[in-house]
Symmetry: C2
Subunit: 452 residues, 2 copies
């Protein structure tokens, strides 16, 4: 009887070789094949090309491989996370190479590698640093960037349950990059909590068909530890800069823009407050880039599901009518224009609606994450940010001075001082916060404002 079950993580990763390209599954601590990482860390293997959305957290898992200098290059969307200090240290020393890829582009490149597609054209990254050295091409009047497939030697992924033939199911947001990565590797190694006999999983319920899986290892799961958030506390703790709207009031103003039936993606930071202020009778569906649609309120310590997090690693609940899916499908929703509205934080917005929100001038790498995919592809982008920097510099500029996320993408800007629409004629002030004068808004803005 055929079986893909291997006896231990050490055995399953034993032939990973120097210089191999390895896809590392998981996202924000969920769906991470921690035992496979640890087994690989015990091998004298180095110069690996690692592909992972993040670049490791703390000291375990991918961070351990980085600490031991086993990885020569990372292909990643979000290297500059505060918890990726092992990676940041290596990068500062010049001891590791980095290729930045927007999150959706990364997922699609991995899927393409697995699907026999050599490369594809996406709008994500057009007009940004990501486009450097890449082919641009116009289709139907819009510019697209050419992105190559990633083909890998190995994938290390984590599933919930597998049968002995290699069919895998995932739980909630632990699906993430894992199925795409299995597809994209010549040898996909899956760590699971439970191994069952063939026939235990209904054919229609398989998330990752056996053909994409080469080795299965049972390893007792390490329970993720997502952040428990109390939204009311978050809202009441959300102050302001003193002038105009508080952060909570800005979130409320954004919430007023959401319409019944909208599919909404919320960025990190202030956008997280928006669900607290939905208008009565308005139902919107919240999308999280890591593979959730129909998120409900934050989980409480009692209702927490450790494998159900949003893209900010916060424990969330799922409402009736919600769904989960893999990363490539999540970004198909974004890239394909299916998301109605994205609410994003911003560093700078230009007169033409250019957005800069992924890299500060003092950051060597920054974190693209899903920001470029959202900015370039979602029809309505609402940016919520303080009107000026902490030192009083305007953030609404003639031209952005920081690295762009996407050109001409913003529809509306909500700041502590005003609500400003980006129109073909220019920036139009739609509303001024109570206690703020139009003159104050104009003074705090570098760009030209149209005052109706």
């Amino acid at each position: 009887v055929l079986s893909k079950v291997w006896s231990s993580p050490a055995e399953a990763v034993g032939d990973i070789f120097n210089g191999a390209t390895v896809l590392f599954g998981g996202f924000a601590g969920v769906g991470v094949p921690i035992h496979l990482f640890r087994a690989l860390a015990r091998l004298p293997v180095n110069n690996l090309v690692g592909v992972s959305n993040h670049c490791g957290d703390g000291e375990d898992g991918l961070a351990l491989l980085l600490k031991q200098k086993q990885i020569g290059k990372m292909i990643t969307s979000f290297p500059d996370h505060v918890q990726s200090h092992q990676f940041r240290k290596l990068y500062a020393e010049g001891a590791i190479e980095v290729e930045m890829s927007p999150q959706g582009t990364l997922a699609e490149r991995i899927r393409a590698g697995g699907a026999g597609v050599a490369g594809f054209y996406t709008r994500t990254g057009v007009g940004t640093a990501v486009a450097e050295g890449k082919e641009m091409r116009v289709f139907d009047g819009q510019s697209f960037l050419f992105e190559r497939a990633i083909k890998a030697d190995f994938a290390l992924i984590k599933g919930s349950k597998a049968d002995t033939l290699g069919n895998v199911v995932f739980h909630r947001s632990a699906r993430t990059f894992n199925p795409d990565m299995a597809m994209g590797a010549r040898c996909a190694i899956v760590e699971v909590d439970e191994i069952v006999e063939p026939g235990s999983i209904d054919p229609d319920d398989v998330h990752l068909p056996s053909i994409f899986v080469h080795r299965v290892v049972k390893a007792p799961g390490v329970v993720p530890n997502p952040t428990i958030v109390d939204l009311e506390e978050l809202v009441s703790g959300a102050g302001g800069s003193g002038l105009g709207w508080s952060r909570a009031e800005m979130a409320k103003r954004v919430a007023a823009e959401l319409n019944d039936g909208d599919y909404v993606n919320l960025g990190v930071g202030m956008p997280t407050l928006v669900p607290a202020f939905l208008r009565p009778g308005v139902t919107v569906f919240f999308h999280s880039e890591n593979g959730l649609l129909g998120m409900g309120p934050f989980a409480t310590p009692e209702s927490v599901d450790p494998e159900c997090i949003n893209a900010s690693r916060q424990a969330v609940t799922m409402l009736p009518g919600s769904s989960t899916f893999r990363h490539s499908e999540s970004f198909a929703m974004i890239r394909g224009g299916h998301i109605s509205v994205a609410v994003l934080g911003g560093y700078q917005v230009s007169e033409k609606g250019d957005l800069a929100n992924w890299k500060l001038p003092n950051q060597s790498l920054g974190g693209i994450g899903g920001a470029m995919d959202l900015a370039a592809n979602v029809g309505r982008i609402i940016v919520v940010m303080e009107h000026t920097t902490k030192t009083g510099e305007p953030r609404i500029l003639k031209r952005c001075s920081y690295a762009l996320t996407a050109p001409a993408c913003v529809s509306l800007v909500v700041t502590n001082l005003a609500v400003i629409a980006v129109t073909p004629e220019g920036l139009v002030v739609r509303e001024v916060a109570p206690g703020v004068t139009m003159d104050q808004v104009v003074q705090a803005t570098e760009a030209h404002l149209i005052i109706p």
Copy 2:
């Protein structure tokens, strides 16, 4: 409370307009939104661009739209099916335009349209009629063809069950193109057997998330009527040309080439007999392009599941450890090189391993189906065919005279006379059928044969 439920098929399709591009779901009579087709056939709408793998069966559904001349152009992989007589009549009259797209390319083009990908490079179709007028490009030493996304106005699809928010699940091979098509349309209209309340479907079990679905209609299903096949009867009825191996013996010879653990795709015709002859102790996994992996024996009248068919419309069973998936994923398995072996019928094979098997000289259109995707991308292609045509013309030629499926793709040819391997040095005779002389093989072959 939000609901995407519409009261009737007529209401749901009411705004489909003249000239609209419409994706038509289903495959070989399964997963077909028959009530939506009928409703559309009652509207005074014409000049539609239809996208569908087949071009209608008999008189109902898509055939009805064709009969009424509501469709001005079809984008399709398999127009020349014997049951598509309404389409064939129109085509013969010059009353309909056709764009031929290999099946996997078609599925990927639809997915790309839904995923915001403008176009992609595939090996499928390189060196064939499909490549005419398209950009070719070399990546890593291999030629690829550029294919554009299909963006549609509407999709008409069929699901098993939906909730009122539009989350859909499918049963067995009824998934097929349906989820990809929902993604690819601005307005996806789903006909289902059953509508349930949100929360009735576990988020992890949703096959098509609500964001891709715009209208849901409950319409009592029409039960498909797949072909019931008795394999033993088929085998015993499979004669031969009189010389050398019978068709059953050829299938047995092919079966001897399959190894434990192989993932195998079987073409129509003689390849269908192969499972009857698997060597004892050898387990292989049969893949069907319409979204099944791990097919078991043909279904009996007692065990038949009307929504579980192979690509030849034959009722099949699913073994323990099997899985189902959408068309784009099925062809990711093929295009990505995950299928170990494909056994295909053939019209002609050349000295260099070129294969012609989709169009006879007397056919105006032919049927590409999945043949080009398989031939161009599967590592080991075994062709099983009679050594000569019925009139005694050789089929193994210096160069194929029929339209190519893919150049230099064949590994092994099994005919009634011999087993011939395609090697870098040329065609090598590996085995001659009992009662056949080497001289007879050479006489019946135009190509040069190396006799070891």
